[in-house]
């Protein structure tokens, strides 16, 4: 960081770019006032202030994370810096995962069920009210459901009675895809967390 600039440095947000809609997140980050970086190697984690794990196939990402020895570096990153997971990303940062059960980073005290609404024909778009953000358009695609919310977890929005946007400490998780809408306020909320 340059010490002589009068304006604060823009936060650098990494997007895990192994598979999934990481380009859509990069667009949303830039629109929300951050600088985006594609991350697919462990050494790149030193360059970013926070990380977004995008939508995609969580089991596919997990395999690539495993093959490329990224599990421990990503988990360690999340133990000190903010991580935001959307859909597949929310599955990866949860404490436990079912349908089927699979490994996860255990960064938030939530239990997530994969593909819990059903298959693609059960995908849907709905308006939601989120605490601190107002109305959001939520795009659910083969989405998971947060079945268990731990004590330290704050629920910002619900849909059909289930938590869909949650925060805990530094981290955030959404079971929908804010990156697929023109509105970048969820990304702005994450970027604001990086500045504190």
């Amino acid at each position: 960081m340059s010490e002589n600039t009068s304006s604060p440095r823009k936060p650098v947000v990494g997007v895990l770019a192994l598979q999934g809609d990481y380009e859509a997140h990069a667009r949303a980050i830039e629109q929300a006032g951050g600088v985006s970086r594609e991350i697919n190697r462990a050494d790149q984690l030193a360059e970013i202030d926070g990380l977004i794990i995008p939508g995609g196939e969580s089991s596919t990402m997990l395999k690539l994370i495993d093959y490329e020895n990224l599990f421990e570096p990503l988990k360690a990153f999340g133990q000190s810096k903010p991580v935001f997971g959307t859909c597949a990303g929310a599955i990866l940062i949860a404490r436990d995962v079912i349908n089927p059960s699979q490994a996860s980073f255990n960064l938030m005290d939530i239990g997530v069920e994969r593909n819990a609404y059903g298959r693609q024909r059960d995908s849907h778009i709905v308006p939601l009210q989120a605490e601190g953000l107002g109305e959001l358009e939520a795009v659910f695609i083969r989405a998971p459901i947060i079945r268990r919310v731990g004590d330290g977890v704050r629920v910002l929005a619900t849909h059909r009675g289930d938590a869909v946007l949650v925060t805990q400490g530094l981290h955030m998780a959404a079971t929908f895809h804010p990156e697929l809408t023109a509105d970048s306020k969820v990304h702005r909320m994450f970027i604001e967390r990086l500045q504190h």
């Binding site: 770019a17 192994l18 598979q19 999934g20 809609d21 990481y22 380009e23 859509a24 697919n40 939508g55 995609g56 196939e57 089991s59 596919t60 395999k63 690539l64 093959y67 859909c87 597949a88 349908n99 089927p100 994969r114 593909n115 059903g118 298959r119 693609q120 024909r121 995908s123 849907h124 778009i125 795009v139 695609i141 083969r142 895809h177 697929l180």
Partner: protein, 298 residues
Amino acid sequence: MFGSLLQDEQFRLKVGLAEMLKGGVIMDVVNAQQAQIAERSGACAVMALVKVPSDIRKEGGVARMSPISVIREIMNTVSIPVMAKCRIGHFVEARVLEALGVDYIDESEVLTPADEENHVDKRDFKVPFVCGARNLGEALRRIGEGAAMIRTKGEAGSGNVVEAVRHMRTIQREMKALTMLRSDELMVAAKTHQAPFELIEWVSKHGKLPVPNFSAGGVATPADAALVMALGAETVFVGSGIFKSDEPEKFARAIVKATTYWKDAEKVLEASEELPDGMKGLDVSKIPLDELMATRGW
């Protein structure tokens, strides 16, 4: 009219799933056991079909939608999205696949066409469709019919990437050319490309397709996969190569690695080393014209 198609909620959900598949590899499988290997190797989706293209090519006859029991078993076996192929124009096969609940339908030239003039009207289906294209006009006609994902056709089952390269370059070049036209030149462009005017206008303004553009047909090595990604593909379909190789899992993993890290030559090198031999290639110019799959679709 297309403004409303592209903003339609159902259409956005269909394109949304295609967005989730980006940067990945979609693998052709003919049974649940292959689907399991594909999933384990890092496929982001599997494509169910009755025979892989190189066998369809070899054995001839009519290639149709897969047996339902096979597709259902694949759906019950893997947790990643399951796609299945229907014949061009066979809207009843498509309705059957929709009722079954597959995640994507490929209206595919690899199967024997059921209609030599018309494609399926894909707009009023709830399930999304992917269709093949060799050029921009063909891509935009399919999107006009409601396709939410385009894949360049290549020449399936040939083990030769040359057609995939030709089709991807053609589409990219034709899109770039449209961005340089004045608005009063776009109607003639629509006439030349034989494509809906509103979609020509959209591409002229944005310089890309309004849906994700994937690549298929002839990818036989990790370097081939990285090549089509570098030319503008957003995901790679791999057909005959994987399960025709001696070590399918190794082959599949190497293709996945090269696709994820296509910008990184060191990683493509690693992937290439893991895979000493690619799929045996056919010379496209020696395939009899009436056996070319890419020319099916209108």
